[in-house]
Symmetry: C2
Subunit: 491 residues, 2 copies
C-alpha cells in the first residue's frame, strides 16, 4: 500500500470510529430522552378525565404504572397470621367469635379481608349482606366499597345515599375501591371523598385543607379504616370522634348517646361492634409519632424505567420489606419479620384470653337469664360485657394484630380482661344466689358450625338465599351499570 493510500485508509477508519461513537451516544441520549418523556407523562395532568370517572381502567390509561401495581392486589391477599390458608376464616379459627357476635352479621361469615380490588366481589359474596328473601343491611354498608359512592352522593345527595337497604343500591355501586376514592381527577391531588371524615374533623374544629400532604397520605385511608357507626333511622355514617380517638373516649361517646349496634342474642347486652379503628390505633403508635404515613409502609415509592411512583399494590409491608421497613430500619428481612411476629404473638395471646373470657360471659349470662336472674341483677354484668367486648374489638377489628401500636393495643386489651372477668365473677354470684351449681354448665360451641347452630343460624338457608341473589339480582345490577357507564371490568 502506498503512503498516500495508507493515510486515506486511516482517515476512513477514524471516520468510522467517530460514526460508531456518535451512534452509541445517540442511543444513550435517546434512552435518556425516553425516560424523561416517561417522567413527564407521569406528571401530565389527565385533563380529559371527567369529575366522576369511577372506572379505574379509565384512570389506568393515563397512569399505567399506578394501575398495573393496583391490579396486583387481585393476586395477593393480605398477610395471614395463619399458615396454609390464603383467605382465613376467622370464625373457623376462633369459634368464640360466633358467640360474641350472636344476633349480629359477623356471626354468619367473617373472612380475612382481601385487597381493595375485591371490594365489590366480597361485599356481594359475604353472607352478612344477605340474599333476596332477607336483606338485613342498610345502604350505608356500601360507603367504603367504591368510587361510585361519592359519584352517587354528588348526584343525589349524601343523606339520599345512606337511606334505604343495601340491596337497593347494587346497580349504582359497581367499581371496586380505586383511583377516584382518593384522587382528584383534574389535579391528581389527594382528595377526601367521604363526607363522614370531613364532618368528624369539622366537629373537632379541623378543616381538611389544614392538613399537610404527608397527613393526607394517612387521611385518605382514614376515610374508611376507622371506627364509625350508623346514626339514626336514616343510618347516617358518623365517626364517634367528638371526645377523642381513644377506645376510652369513643366508648364514652357511645355511652353518652346510649347507642347500641345490636342486642346480643344470648346475653341481651346492648352491644357495640367496633369497626376497624386502624387510623385511631396507628396514631397512638411510634410510627405515627415519627411522621410516618399509612402510604409510607403500605404504598412505598417504587422506581421503574426512571420513573418514581407510588406503589398502588396496597399490602402488608411484610411482603415488601425492602421498600417499606428497610427505608428506615437497617436490619435484615428475617430480623424485622421476627420483630413483628414477636409483637403479634404476644398481642394474640392476650387477645385470645379475652375472646374466650367474653364468649364464656355471654353464655353464662344467657344461663343466668334462663335461671330467672332479674334485670337489676344483670344490669352491671351486661355493662361490663359491653365495655369488655368493645375494647377487645377495638384491637381485634383493627388490622396488624396490634402492631400499629402494640403498647396501646395491650393497654386496651388489659382493661378488656378486667371487665370480662369481673362480669364472670358477678355471673357466678348470680348463679349461686339462684341455687344453681357451679361451674355454670356451658354448651359445646367448640367449632364454627356448632356455635352457629347454637345461636340459631341456618347457614344453609343463608347460602341458598345468597345464591339466588347472585343468579338473578347481581346480573341485573351489572346490566344497568353497563347501560350507564359502558363496560363492567372484572379483575
Amino acid at each position: 500500500m502506498s503512503d498516500e493510500k495508507k493515510k486515506s485508509f486511516k482517515g476512513i477508519l477514524l471516520l468510522l470510529a467517530v460514526a460508531v461513537v456518535v451512534f452509541i451516544l445517540g442511543l444513550f441520549t435517546s434512552s435518556i430522552m425516553e425516560r424523561r418523556a416517561e417522567s413527564v407523562a407521569k406528571l401530565k395532568v389527565a385533563a380529559d378525565l371527567p369529575e366522576w370517572e369511577t372506572r379505574n381502567e379509565e384512570w389506568g390509561k393515563h397512569y399505567p404504572k399506578e394501575f398495573e401495581s393496583y391490579l396486583k392486589m387481585a393476586d395477593t391477599n393480605f398477610r395471614s397470621m395463619y399458615a396454609g390458608s390464603a383467605t382465613v376464616d376467622y370464625l373457623e379459627n376462633s369459634p368464640e367469635l360466633v358467640i360474641m357476635w350472636a344476633g349480629y352479621g359477623f356471626s354468619k361469615d367473617y373472612l380475612q379481608a382481601r385487597g381493595h380490588s375485591y371490594a365489590i366481589t366480597d361485599i356481594r359474596n359475604t353472607l352478612r349482606t344477605g340474599g333476596i328473601d332477607k336483606s338485613p343491611m342498610p345502604a350505608t354498608c356500601w360507603s367504603c366499597k367504591s368510587p361510585d359512592v361519592p359519584r352517587f352522593m354528588s348526584e343525589k345527595g349524601v343523606a339520599e345515599f345512606y337511606k334505604g337497604k343495601w340491596i337497593d343500591k347494587g346497580q349504582e355501586i359497581i367499581n371496586p375501591i380505586g383511583c377516584g376514592d382518593c384522587h382528584d381527577p383534574k389535579t391528581m391531588n389527594l382528595k377526601i371523598t367521604r363526607p363522614a371524615l370531613i364532618e368528624a374533623m369539622e366537629r373537632r374544629g379541623k378543616k381538611i385543607e389544614d392538613f399537610t400532604h404527608q397527613e393526607m397520605r394517612s387521611l385518605v385511608c382514614a376515610q374508611c379504616h376507622v371506627e364509625y357507626y350508623f346514626k339514626g333511622k336514616d343510618k347516617y355514617l358518623t365517626f364517634p370522634w367528638d371526645k377523642g380517638f381513644s377506645a376510652d373516649s369513643m366508648e364514652a361517646y357511645y355511652d353518652e348517646i346510649g347507642f347500641k349496634d345490636w342486642t346480643h342474642k344470648l346475653s341481651k347486652t346492648n352491644m357495640l361492634k367496633t369497626q376497624h379503628p386502624d387510623y385511631e390505633l396507628f396514631m397512638t403508635g411510634i410510627h405515627a409519632q415519627r411522621g410516618v404515613a399509612c402510604a409510607d409502609c403500605h404504598m412505598p415509592y417504587k422506581v421503574e424505567g426512571g420513573v418514581k411512583f407510588t406503589d398502588h399494590h396496597i399490602q402488608s409491608p411484610l411482603n415488601n420489606i425492602a421498600n417499606s421497613c428497610q427505608v428506615c430500619h437497617r436490619e435484615s428481612e428475617a430480623e424485622l419479620t421476627k420483630n413483628v411476629n414477636d409483637i403479634q404473638k404476644r398481642v394474640m395471646e392476650i387477645r385470645r384470653i379475652v375472646e374466650k373470657s367474653i364468649a364464656k360471659a355471654h353464655l353464662e349470662a344467657e344461663f343466668a337469664w334462663k335461671s330467672g336472674a332479674s334485670e337489676e341483677e344483670m344490669k352491671p354484668v351486661l355493662a361490663l360485657i359491653r365495655s369488655a367486648q368493645w375494647r377487645w374489638d377495638w384491637v381485634a377489628a383493627a388490622n396488624s394484630v396490634g402492631f400499629h401500636s402494640p403498647v396501646e393495643a395491650l393497654r386496651v386489651l388489659g382493661t378488656a380482661i378486667e371487665r370480662s372477668e369481673k362480669a364472670q365473677g358477678q355471673l357466678a354470684v348470680i348463679a349461686v344466689r339462684h341455687n344453681l351449681n357451679l361451674p355454670i354448665p356451658l354448651p359445646d360451641v367448640s367449632t364454627k358450625s356448632k356455635a352457629q347452630a347454637y345461636i340459631g343460624l341456618n347457614i344453609e338457608e343463608l347460602r341458598k338465599d345468597k345464591e339466588k341473589l347472585k343468579a338473578t339480582v347481581i346480573p341485573d345490577w351489572e346490566e344497568k351499570a353497563k347501560a350507564r357507564q359502558g363496560a363492567i371490568y372484572k379483575y
Copy 2:
C-alpha cells in the same frame, strides 16, 4: 538603613517568625503528647491492686475518671415517676402494696432505689433488715451490696457467706457496690464475681467464657438485676432460670419445687416475691434484640481531655439522653422523653389496675377465711392470687416501669389481671355460699399508715430497734472493718 543592614534585619525577623511558629508547634505537640499520655495512663494495667481490693477509692487512684463519674451517683437519684420527691416512698404512693406484702419485709418499708454508692447506707437503714431485737433477714441479703461479698466468699467459701443472719456479717460488708464487683483488678476485664449467675448459666449449659464482651456489658449487671431466691435452709442464692427466663417459665420452676417466699398474713397464700428481673425483661425487648447492652444506655461512653471512657455515673438514660438514646435515635430530647413517658404511663395504668385488684383479693380472702371458708374452697383462689401477684411483681419490681420491654410487660400484666379478677369472682361465690352479703366488707387501708396498722405492723417499734442498731452495732462494724482494711470511706 543601608541595604546590608536592611537584609540583616529582614533575616532576624524571619528567624524570629520561624522561632514563634516552631514554639507554637511545640505547644501543640506537647498538648497532643499529654493527651496521648493520658490515654496511655488509662490503658495502664493497675498491677499493684491486690486481688480482693474492695475499697473503691483505691481503684479510683488508678482510674480517676471512672471513679469521679462513679461518685456522681451520690448526688443523683434515679429518675422518679413522681414529681417533687427525690426518693419516692412507694408505700405512701400505693398503699395497696402494704396489703400485697403483708407478712413480708416490703410491707414495712419500700423506698425508690438510689445509686450504687448508697448500697451499704440504704441496706443498713431500711426497716426491712430490722434492728437488734428483731433481725429477720439471712446473710444472703448482703449478696448484691458490696465487692466485699466476693472477697469474703473467696476467703471463707460461698456457702459460708450465705449462712447465718444478716446482722452477723455487717462488719465484713462495708464498701458499697463498686469497681471490684465487675472488674478484674489485674486486667480490668469485666468479670463475674457472683457465683449465682455462673451456676445458673452452667445449669443452662453456658459458660461465662462463651459470652462476648458486649454480652458481658449486660451480664455484669445481671449478677444482681435479676430474679433470684434463697434456696433451702442455708439460703443459697439461686436464679430460677432452669426452664427459661420468662415470667411463665420461672413460675413453673417455683411451682414444680413448691417454693414460697412467705405465707401471706391475710390471705394465707403461699407467695412469691419477684426480685427485679431487669435482665430477664430487658432480654425480651427490642433494644436487647438489636445488640444493645445495659451499659450502652446506663453507662455510655464519654470523652474528657482526649480520653474516651465509660461513664460510671450509672443512672436513667433520660438524665443523659445526648450520650445514650441520641447515639442511635435522631430525635429531640423532648420527643424521646415523651415517647418513654407515653409507654410508662400506659404500663402504669395497667399496673395500678392489677395492684388494686390483687390487694382487694387478699382482703376478701382474709374475710372468707374468717367467715369459715374451707381449705378446699380456698385452694384454687390462693393459687390464682399467687400467680397474679408473681406476674404483677415480675413487671413492677423491675426497673423502667416496663420500658425495657413494654409489650412483654403488658402481656404479663394482662395475665395477672385475668388471674386476680378470677380470684375475686371465686371469693364472691364463696361469700354467697356462706350466706354473707355482697360486696364483701373491706377495711379502710387507704394510706400507708392505715394499711400497716391493719396488717399488725408496729412501725414505731421497728424504728426504735433500727436506731439501736445504728447507735451500737453499726459503729462496731465500722471499727472492725477499719482494723481490717484501713479507712472507711463515706460519700
